[in-house]
């Protein structure tokens, strides 16, 4: 359709210095010569119209012939927009300056980050980086290539097994992997194993050394259970005895259990709410059910990043759970059961290496109105061996 104007073309708005018959004849002439016109209108007694910018030249000859003068008022279209922009050098210089600056600034070492080690080793790594020229303000393209840098870091840090250097724009990241020091790698000196407490030996697993006890032996604290001397007595060799000796030991545990017990349960209602968080404000998105009074809330915040920037918006997920407190009233049998359970837990909680509870015997129990007092005797199997270093006598000996 003729109405469609090519949008990216260049147009000129011109104004004729004539109206009435000469203008009409002039318009008629240029239209019949094939020039397209738009927005022909009379404005302030003058005729204003739009032609293609390329047609302006073709108007000159008929204008002279008809005695009509015209002037170009405005030029529109992409090409003229570009031309106008070119007439403002500040803008263009500023734009290129911006590109140049951002290029320059992103090629300057701005921060040096050391990861993989901390403390003194990290300090040493930072110092090495400084020595290798990784300092703030350093022009990054002038740095030696990363492989060379890594090799030099390895020279500087004798304790490092591997060093990785990476440059992310203005940030230089150095990842250092130190050698792992195996402190337990050194074999222990000659040692015996001695008992830590009074016990009856139940079992033993001796990997090195000569056991001196058998199943059923009663041992006293400090008694030698595995000797570090092996071989014939006249030619014994001092070694580090290793192994486990399991003995039955005895404890008396006293517990008190109240009859009324308050139990907190989370069996009630629960739900999830979603919010969009902008700083301190938050906008509910999903889950409009209100949490009851006293419910427990746990919220997690999920932030969004876009091209390395953290958006000022976050998704907050709130899980709530109604808390109900129940009071349990135990009867006598339940009370005794609870006391036993509590005593067993107490036994294990003391940090002992309890392998087995061999026997338990209620020594005393006092059931009162509101609580029970109970003393229980436990027979428990534990590892009772403890290493004891010794200085081997030149002639040797047996324990």
């Amino acid at each position: 359709m003729m109405m469609r104007r090519d949008r990216w073309g260049a147009y000129a708005v011109i104004e004729l210095d004539a109206s009435g018959a000469p203008a009409d004849r002039f318009l008629g002439e240029i239209v019949s010569s094939g020039i397209a016109l738009w927005n022909v209108a009379v404005q302030d007694g003058r005729v204003r119209l739009t032609v293609r910018a390329t047609d302006v030249r073709r108007l000159r000859r008929p204008a002279r012939a008809f005695g009509v003068r015209f002037r170009v008022i405005k030029r529109t279209g992409g090409t003229f927009a570009v031309l106008r922009l070119l007439k403002r050098p500040g803008l263009i210089i500023g734009f290129f300056l911006f590109l140049f600056m951002s290029y320059m600034l992103s090629n300057v070492v701005w921060t040096v980050e050391v990861s993989g080690v901390d403390g003194v080793k990290a300090q040493e790594a930072y110092a090495a980086a400084q020595k290798l020229g990784l300092v703030r303000g350093r022009w990054a393209p002038n740095l030696p290539d990363l492989k060379t840098l890594e090799a030099r870091f390895l020279e500087q840090l004798p304790w490092a097994a591997w060093v990785g250097v990476r440059r992310d724009g203005a940030i230089v990241r150095i990842f250092v992997v130190p050698y792992k020091v195996h402190e337990s790698a050194e074999p222990p000196g000659p040692q015996h194993l001695v008992a830590t407490k009074k016990a009856v030996v139940v079992d033993y697993v001796v990997t090195r050394g000569r056991p001196l006890v058998f199943r059923g032996t009663l041992v006293q604290p400090g008694q030698l259970v595995v000797s570090g001397f092996v071989g014939p007595p006249e030619n014994a060799k001092a070694i580090a005895a290793q192994g486990h000796v399991y003995g039955e030991v005895w404890y008396d545990v006293q517990v008190t259990v109240p009859r009324r017990q308050t139990v907190v349960t989370t069996e009630g209602e629960k739900g999830t709410q979603y919010f969009l968080r902008f700083g301190q404000r938050r906008l509910p998105v999903w889950g409009f059910e209100r949490a009851p009074e006293g419910a427990r809330h746990t919220s997690t915040l999920r932030t969004f990043t876009l091209g390395g920037f953290r958006l000022p918006m976050a998704l907050e997920i709130v899980h709530w759970q109604a808390i109900t407190e129940e009071t349990l009233e135990l009867d006598d049998a339940g009370l005794l059961e609870a006391a036993l359970t509590l005593a067993r837990e107490a036994l294990r909680r003391q940090g002992r290496d309890v392998r087995e509870i061999r026997s338990e015997k209620v020594l005393q129990q006092t059931v009162e109105d509101d609580k029970v007092l109970m003393t229980i005797h436990f027979g428990v199997v534990e590892d009772i061996a403890r290493p004891e270093p010794f200085v081997p006598a030149p002639e040797g000996g047996s324990g």
Binding site: S32, N39, V42
Partner: protein
């Protein structure tokens, strides 16, 4: 001679029922309400003002009268006029 040919064309058109503006040189005027006039097959602009625009056509002059008339687009054969249109008249 020419008249005779014209008669033949007219008769032929009547027989095949072609729209007359397709074959002959007649102007075609379309209006949209009283705001647009769309004119095809004109033969040039003869008068132009904000109140009246006249075109030459094969039937003589076509006169569009109104207020605040603007020719939105104009080329060799077609014209698109916008404004408050009061009358479209053919004058011999």
């Amino acid at each position: 001679m020419k008249r005779w040919l014209g008669r033949i064309v007219q008769t032929g058109l009547g027989a095949v029922e072609w729209p007359p503006d397709v074959v002959s040189d007649l102007p075609r005027v379309t209006t949209v309400g009283a705001i647009h006039v769309y004119l095809e097959n004109h033969r040039g602009l003869s008068f132009f003002s904000a109140e009246e625009i006249r075109f030459r056509t094969a039937l003589g002059e076509l006169c569009v009268q109104g207020d605040e008339l603007v020719i939105r687009a104009l080329n060799k054969a077609e014209a698109f006029i916008e404004g408050k249109i009061r009358a479209v008249r053919f004058t011999a």
